[in-house]
């Protein structure tokens, strides 16, 4: 076996190693650029490896299984061998989101170079940033229920610490405490769900549990376990009635980490929900209609309340946080429409729109939060009414910001348009009521985002001294270019990237069989065609 076949585990372990190296090397040589460099290299490593993994999966066309400590132990169950150890199981959706996560953290790390400069505790900051990347990738790649919980906790603890990082502002401490308490409740729910599943089947491997659920059907305790999982995941995601922690936590973090929080960490919670629903429990075993009604209801609340609250905000980061709740409403709405009309044409279109929107939202909301970081550095305030002449003094940042804002509104050539259109179209095809909520959300988004655009040109307030440094301009421009590129290539991306991911998410037997044929499903480099 060559090193290249270990890429799934290296994607997770490389940033972890760099995170462990940061305190050691910082103790050796203080007041240096070591933390930045190590964080950059670590996130770049996992970006490269995640691209390799995704490429391999796309060319093989099946989920990949990596058995940790493979070789000897397997147990035979009904004449089928399966490994008793922890598995990494990566299908196309998790590989796709893996690239997204690694990319977002990489961009945020570049941006931090200018944003966190000369901070006394910057080594801690970069360590926590890398650890949050480790947590997210671990969740996306794992095929084991308890392992999911462990990595969820890594992600959660690093997020709590980074939200409280700027504790000179006391509201960061309050936000972190709120986030910690609610996050712990949701983790407890998920762990009780895992305990129930273990009590039923004595197994923690997702594919094995899925097979046993198919075989024996649902019992009352499994229904409760599913409810606990759903509650935990939606609480972690911050969907509307449970969104209060999100509104406080996302603006309080340092701006690059706000981008990561809003861009991907929230999506990882949604990924957990999708994975548990589709792969572990299975669409045929749960009551899709009632789950769908609940989810569509939550989405409708998100799409109406959050944008109305956003219109009243003066704080630019708080406004973007409300906008995140709105966008979550779109994503959840797509998933809910799929549950209400499972496996129909517009149902599949809806969930494709959702996953596409996950990617697009990660790009443009990341861009917007990074720009808010630039504004904080240049102007020194988060209050929209106190800024003036941004457009004249900071031309590059302004261009990127305007592209991001137009993208979130959904103007046609940009990426926000494509995914929003899919969700609007499919929800109208299902029912005019759901469609109406989505349209309402879009209209309100337009209203509050125009407020940001107008404030860029408004006089009367503090002026920025000039453009921010290159390390803060380049990532923002890069994100803006990606917005345009995804918008232009929307149809190709939808057909080549999103549709296969959804296909592999829905095809449950493929996910189960990969584990029972784990030797064939291992990442074998000879099977991968080079372009």
């Amino acid at each position: 076996m060559s090193v290249i076949e270990h890429t799934p585990i290296l994607t997770i372990v490389m940033p972890l190693t760099f995170a462990f190296l940061i305190p050691i090397l910082t103790a050796v040589k203080k007041e240096s650029k070591i933390p930045e460099v190590l964080a950059l290299v670590g996130s770049l490593c996992s970006l490269v490896f995640s691209v390799i993994v995704a490429y391999a999966i796309w060319s093989v066309g099946k989920p990949i299984v990596y058995t940790l400590g493979a070789d000897v132990p397997t147990i035979v169950y009904r004449n089928q061998e399966f490994p008793v150890r922890i598995l990494l199981e990566i299908d196309r959706l998790s590989a796709l989101l893996g690239i997204l996560v690694a990319f977002e953290v990489f961009i945020a790390t570049i941006f931090s170079w200018g944003y966190i400069r000369d901070h006394k505790r910057k080594d801690k900051y970069y360590t926590l940033m890398l650890l949050s990347l480790v947590g997210m990738l671990g969740i996306l790649y794992t095929g084991d229920l308890f392992n999911l919980y462990v990595f969820l906790e890594i992600l959660a603890i690093s997020s709590y610490a980074l939200v409280a990082f700027e504790y000179e502002h006391p509201e960061a401490l309050e936000a972190a405490m709120k986030y910690l308490v609610l996050g712990s409740i949701s983790s407890t729910f998920i762990l009780v769900g895992i305990a129930i599943i273990y009590g039923e089947f004595d197994s923690l491997t997702m594919a094995m549990v899925a097979k046993l659920i198919d075989e024996y059907g649902m019992t009352a305790s499994l229904v409760i376990a599913y409810a606990l999982f759903t509650m935990g995941a939606l609480l972690k995601a911050g969907v509307a009635p449970m969104h209060m922690w999100l509104i406080d936590a996302h603006p309080s973090a340092p701006s690059p980490f706000s981008a990561v929080l809003s861009g991907v960490i929230v999506k990882v919670a949604i990924y957990i929900f999708l994975r548990i629903t589709f792969s572990v429990f299975g669409l045929t075993n749960i009551d899709t209609t009632s789950v769908g009604i609940i989810i569509v209801g939550l989405a409708a609340i998100s799409l109406t309340i959050a944008p109305i609250m956003a219109t009243a905000q003066k704080d630019v980061k708080r406004l973007f946080a409300y906008s995140t709740v709105t966008e979550l409403g779109y994503i959840i709405m797509g998933i809910g429409v799929f549950f209400l009309a499972p496996l129909s044409v517009h149902g599949i279109l809806a969930i494709e729109g959702s996953v596409f929107h996950v990617i697009n939202h990660a790009i443009y909301k990341g861009l917007l939060f990074l720009v808010s970081g630039s504004l904080i550095v240049a102007v020194g305030t988060r209050n929209l009414t106190k800024m003036s002449n941004i457009a004249k003094k900071m031309p590059y940042t302004t261009i990127a910001l305007i592209i991001g804002l137009f993208s979130i509104i959904g103007l046609p050539p940009l990426n926000g348009f494509a995914s929003k259109w899919l969700i609007i179209e499919s929800s109208f095809a299902y029912s005019p009521v759901t469609g109406l909520f989505v349209i309402l959300g879009s209209a309100l988004t337009f209203a509050y985002m125009m407020k940001v655009v107008l404030s860029l040109y408004a006089p009367g307030g503090k002026e920025p001294s000039g453009e921010v440094g290159a390390s803060m301009v380049v990532p923002v421009i890069m994100m803006a270019i990606i917005c345009i590129v995804i918008g232009l290539l929307a149809a190709q991306i939808l057909n080549k990237v999103i549709a296969p991911s959804i296909e592999s998410l829905i095809s449950r037997s493929e996910y189960i069989n990969a584990v029972f044929n784990y030797k064939e499903a291992a990442l074998n480099w000879s099977g991968v065609k080079l372009l």
Binding site: L16, A19, F20, P23, L68, G69, V72, P73, I75, Y77, V84, R85, I86, K120, R121, K124, Y125, T127, L128, L131, V134, G138, F146, N147, V150, F151, E153, I154, I157, S158, Y160, A161, L162, A164, F165, Y167, E168, V192, I196, G199, E200, F201, D202, S203, M208, L212, Y216, T219, A220, S221, I224, A225, A227
Partner: protein, 103 residues
């Protein structure tokens, strides 16, 4: 303000009662998880595997340690990372206070 708090409290009590009932339901004999101490007819013999093959696979007498470090070593790596994360976070929060100018 006071009314608001009372309604929050009532909501909390109702929510908790529902949660309690739901959780109890999951462990009721007959419909829920297997009764205490029994082996479920649905279960996979993973635990028996660990007990029977632990010594030849890993070479240690303590099967719990065997599971912790070998069969589920990846979880333990994650757990060690959790501890490291928490320490880094606590250090980031408690060091570098403005008042004392220390570190």
């Amino acid at each position: 303000m006071k009314e608001d708090r009372r309604s929050l409290k009532i909501f909390g009590i109702v929510f908790m009662t529902i949660l309690t009932l739901i959780m109890f339901l999951a462990f009721m004999p007959g419909i829920g998880v297997r009764p205490f101490g029994e082996i479920s007819y649905r279960s996979v013999p993973t635990d028996d595997y660990y007990i029977e093959h632990g010594i030849e696979d890993v070479g240690a007498y303590n099967i719990v340690t065997t599971v912790v470090f070998d069969y589920r070593g990846y979880d333990t790596l994650g757990e060690a990372t959790v501890l490291f994360t928490a320490l880094t976070g606590a250090a980031a929060l408690l060091l570098g206070g403005r008042r004392h100018g220390e570190e």
